[in-house]
Symmetry: C2
Subunit: 177 residues, 2 copies
DNA sequence: TGCAACTGATTGCAAAATGCAATTGGATTG
DNA sequence: CAATCCAATTGCATTTTGCAATCAGTTGCA
């Protein structure tokens, strides 16, 4: 894929992974939105990613070791994408990025709910969320007691409706234009 | 400049600021390398940025409110670039990015020294460093007692020699090729 | 005074990345 | 058996990137 290696600096190498306009968006939707399928990522993308870009980035993220792909047993054509540990440990970066954006950029209030929650919960919440992701994506044993509200539920509750409405609007605009 | 606004999501908006291969590299060199002039950024860039890209990104970062430019009183042509508070508060993101890169990417040991120091020092060290940056770039009063070693000094000590050697090599390769 | 070196850029141009629209071949649903 | 859904792929125009060369003004030095 991309074996630039302009330098061995950690920040530079991280940038060679995320220094584009889509990779981190896809990971955001998988991590926080719980998207696992191509169509989910395509149709519920707030930013309206194109299918060829999505296909390219999924391939790239797999090559980089951030995602894995498996057949969905319920549907022979469906592929299910999973986060690797490498991707799951991006949660703190996402949280910091969200916190910074909330302060300095013209964010929409309704879309900042997740960032706010992550910021308030701090590292302990991030850790719990990462455990949940390990459970969902890597089959690791869950450390959350059954019945207790998951971070995922908290993150989704207020957010999902907004995202789906927005994505709906976006599709509507596209089809009628 | 770039008024995409694909969505008001904090992570997306942050990505619209840093979602390219150079902006954060320039900020890294200003924050951690202490670069303040065009030529410094150009000649001591580990990754070998081109002058037109550098000029473009400096302009863009100014438009976005991350940098300011002032005349250098010692030299009528020299411009001196300063970090704004908006840029200074990127330190935690840089630290997280460096920490993540150190774990998951093929970083060079000698270039990871800074990331390691930031990781070990944790948020308190980041805060001290940010204060130093405010002192240097915004003229804020210094909270470090005079004589005490600054974070900047610790960060640079082991690093600067490496960077300058590398940059030297890079220039050498370019001129002889 | 004259000239080389240095200042922060700008220009021209080729290559690569991006993104939209349409389409593909196979699977599933009704 | 037709319509729909699946994960992509293709074609193509636009945009971005990045290298090389160049620029005009400033400075340092002889």
């Amino acid at each position: 894929m991309n074996i630039d290696r302009r330098s061995g600096c950690p920040i530079n190498l991280s940038l060679e992974v995320f220094g584009d306009r889509w990779s981190l968006i896809i990971l955001r939707d998988m991590i926080f939105g719980g998207r696992r399928h191509f169509r989910e990522l395509l149709n519920f993308s707030l930013e309206g990613i194109a299918s060829n870009i999505l296909a390219d980035r999924l391939k790239r993220l797999m090559a980089l070791g951030l995602l894995t792909k498996a057949d969905d047993p319920s549907h022979k054509q469906k592929a299910i994408y999973s986060l690797t540990e490498m991707a799951i440990t991006l949660v703190p970066i996402m949280a910091q990025l969200g916190a910074w954006g909330r302060v300095w950029l013209p964010v929409t209030e309704e879309l900042s709910i997740r960032a706010e929650l992550l910021e308030k919960g701090g590292p302990p919440l991030w850790e719990q969320f990462m455990d949940e992701l390990r459970h969902e994506h890597l089959g690791a044993p869950s450390r959350t007691p059954p019945g207790a509200p998951t971070v995922r539920q908290q993150l989704r509750a207020a957010y999902e409706a907004v995202v789906e409405r927005k994505a709906e609007e976006l599709r509507h605009i596209k089809t009628e234009a």
